[in-house]
């Protein structure tokens, strides 16, 4: 038997049973493509969540007023307690090492009116350093300055969502006046869209000096948040620890569990979120793994249900002069062709699915080589084992036994 003959036999065996060939390949295709697509979506989700956490700021340590999480007892809503002061912030700024910049925030939610239209949005009173700490960029006009802070000027920098909500006619917002809580503020800048969504949408916000916010909106001297940006990512833990120690001393608290503020470290958020998305990826991979398993069982089923027919065929081939090795080679090549053709189609399909998901802007997927290898490996293994092993067994029967096989 020449190589050519073997290929020809394989081709005619596969094309003589188009339905069987098609169904077997379908099992492989579905198994492989779902693993590749799902894992790529999981990976994409993971990196997109990591990226959006990264966009909150750089190496952030966030200090908020209110008790640390503890068991039992009433829990005050974070940020609503009045324990953080400007003095605390200044102490952090002057005494904690490795600080890049620091921003003092006063937040509140207000009704905002301009030219008869109004919207309800979040107001952040802060310092000019907010732009570096929170990665906020100004698109049009300017952010306010230290002087605005020092003299509590009624100036506002608005997010793009606020602009579209308030200026329906599309007029230039910079220079216009808006009314917040009976005060008139002048818009001096518009921030660049960060594309965020959900609970902390940076695009749906108005920024003003914190002194202004304290004076006209909250009416007290407290801060609702202090954002500390560590010099490097490696410094965040040290900065967090030092801030905690310092504020405990400032507030004369000896028992750290009774602290009246809490600190949150951006790397912790990233770690938590990536463990969540990791779980999500595992979930998707499990679903994909099940489809691979089902696909694999489909392959086994197809291969094994045709064993009777194929055993007769093997008996016949042996009766007219085929040797065991002729039979084994033919069936091995046949299962390899079947699983590899299906495998390649499956890989391409999985790839296409993840490309389409990316193109539609649902999520930026990334196909991982290991998922391709795993999916391909598993189905190729199942296909070859279940295509070849029964044939090998049948080729050991004598022709009459094989021809009589039920």
């Amino acid at each position: 038997m020449t190589t050519n003959d073997i290929l020809h036999e394989t081709y005619s065996a596969l094309s003589a049973n188009k339905v069987r060939t098609g169904l077997t390949m379908l099992g492989i295709i579905i198994g492989i493509s779902s693993v590749i697509a799902m894992v790529s979506i999981g990976n994409g989700a993971q990196s997109s969540i990591a990226a959006s956490i990264q966009s909150i700021g750089s190496n952030l340590v966030i200090v908020t007023p209110g008790a640390q999480r503890s068991f039992g007892g009433p829990q005050q809503a974070r940020g609503s307690a009045q324990t953080l002061t400007v003095a605390d912030g200044q102490a952090i700024q002057s005494q904690v090492a490795n600080i890049g910049s620091i921003a003092f925030d006063v937040t509140s939610r207000e009704q905002v009116v301009a030219k008869g239209t109004n919207t309800n949005t979040s107001i952040t009173g802060t310092t000019p350093s907010y732009t570096t700490v929170r990665n906020v960029e100004v698109d049009d006009g300017n952010f306010f300055t230290e002087e605005d802070v020092a003299s509590s000027n009624k100036v506002a920098v608005v997010g793009p969502t606020v602009v579209t909500d308030l200026f329906l006619d599309g007029s230039e917002p910079v220079g216009q006046q808006i009314r917040i809580n009976n005060g008139i503020y002048t818009i001096i800048g518009v921030t660049k869209s960060k594309g965020g969504s959900g609970f902390s949408n940076a695009d749906d916000a108005i920024y003003m000096p914190y002194t202004t916010a304290q004076h006209y909106l909250t009416g007290n001297q407290y801060l609702s948040e202090i954002d500390v940006s560590a010099a490097t990512a490696d410094d965040t833990t040290q900065v967090q620890n030092d801030v905690t120690t310092l504020l405990l001393a400032q507030h004369h608290i000896s028992d750290p569990t009774k602290a009246d503020f809490s600190t949150l470290n951006q790397s912790d958020i990233i770690a938590t979120a990536s463990s969540v998305t990791g779980t999500f990826t595992i979930l998707l991979a499990a679903v994909a793994g099940i489809s691979l398993l089902v696909g694999g069982i489909g392959i086994m089923n197809m291969m094994l249900t045709t064993v009777t027919e194929r055993t007769r065929e093997i008996g016949l081939r042996k009766a007219i002069g085929a040797k065991k090795s002729d039979i084994n080679t033919q069936f091995l090549i046949e299962s390899i062709m079947l699983t590899f053709t299906g495998g390649v189609i499956g890989v391409i399909l999985g790839w296409v699915i993840s490309l389409v998901v990316s193109k539609l802007g649902i999520i930026q997927t990334s196909v991982s080589v290991s998922s391709v290898l795993l999916a391909f490996g598993v189905s190729a293994f199942i296909g070859v084992v279940f295509g070849y092993y029964p044939a090998r067994r049948a080729s050991n029967l004598n022709p009459i036994e094989a021809l009589r096989y039920e």
């Binding site: 003589a16 007219i320 002069g321």
Partner: protein
């Protein structure tokens, strides 16, 4: 040259066993045309499978051309089947969903014949089996019983075997077509000197052979020369 001595075959299925051949001995010389006759279930096919090196006897010896076949390896038997024996199964056993030509070409592939020669050989064999050319590209499941039978015969002839073993080769054919096939066997036997062994339960078919062996319940009851051999005088395909 076939020499079988005291061959038995016992089929074992679970607890029950059945002895299909109970000590059969005979020899067939090269170039003989032998018919094996007997009622259904008498062990004809069982014997034929052993003669065709498709199955092995439970006891007894089988010498083919002086070599003891019962001790040969599986692959050595495959070589004998490929080079010396053309076998027509009682149930034909064509490859399903495969064309007539390809079915007939199959033995040549395993015999390593040159690819260029295969088709011509297959066509020649199909012609001597009396199958009309327009069926050559039909799939094996698109044929009538008689056509399938002729394809099976052509497949047995295609390798130019020295020995042709045919199990009820005319069972599905009308008298005229049956005559043509028997004429083919006679011609292969007389002009090319091939050994032909055929199984039948019809005396008229058996009478085309030089010698008739009658088997009943796994034993030979008669083995005699056929003095009134019927010859197929003329055939044109």
């Amino acid at each position: 040259m076939i020499e079988v001595t005291d061959i038995t075959k016992t089929y074992q299925s679970g607890d029950t066993s059945f002895q299909a051949l109970k000590g059969v001995s005979f020899s067939i010389n090269d170039g003989e045309f032998v018919a094996i006759m007997g009622p259904s279930g008498s062990g004809k096919s069982t014997l034929m499978h052993i003669l065709g090196c498709l199955d092995t006897p439970t006891s007894g010896t089988y010498f083919l051309d002086g070599k003891d076949v019962s001790t040969m390896s599986d692959d050595a038997l495959a070589d004998i089947r490929r080079d010396k024996i053309g076998f027509v199964f009682q149930s034909f056993n064509l490859l399903p969903r495969t064309t007539v030509l390809r079915n007939v070409t199959l033995p040549l592939i395993y015999a390593n014949e040159l690819p260029e020669k295969r088709e011509a050989d297959a066509r020649a064999a199909l012609q001597s089996a009396g199958l009309d050319e327009r069926y050559y590209t039909h799939k094996s499941n698109q044929l009538s019983g008689g056509q399938i039978q002729r394809v099976a015969i052509a497949r047995a002839l295609v390798n130019n075997p020295t020995m042709i073993l045919a199990d009820e080769p005319t069972g599905n054919l009308d008298t005229r077509t049956g005559e043509i096939v028997l004429g083919t066997f006679q011609q292969l036997n007389e002009t090319l000197g091939r050994t032909v062994v055929l199984i039948t339960h019809e005396p008229e078919v058996a009478e085309h052979a030089d010698r008739i062996i009658v088997i009943r319940d796994g034993v030979i009851v008669s083995d005699a020369k056929n003095y009134k051999k019927r010859k197929v005088e003329h055939h044109d395909y």
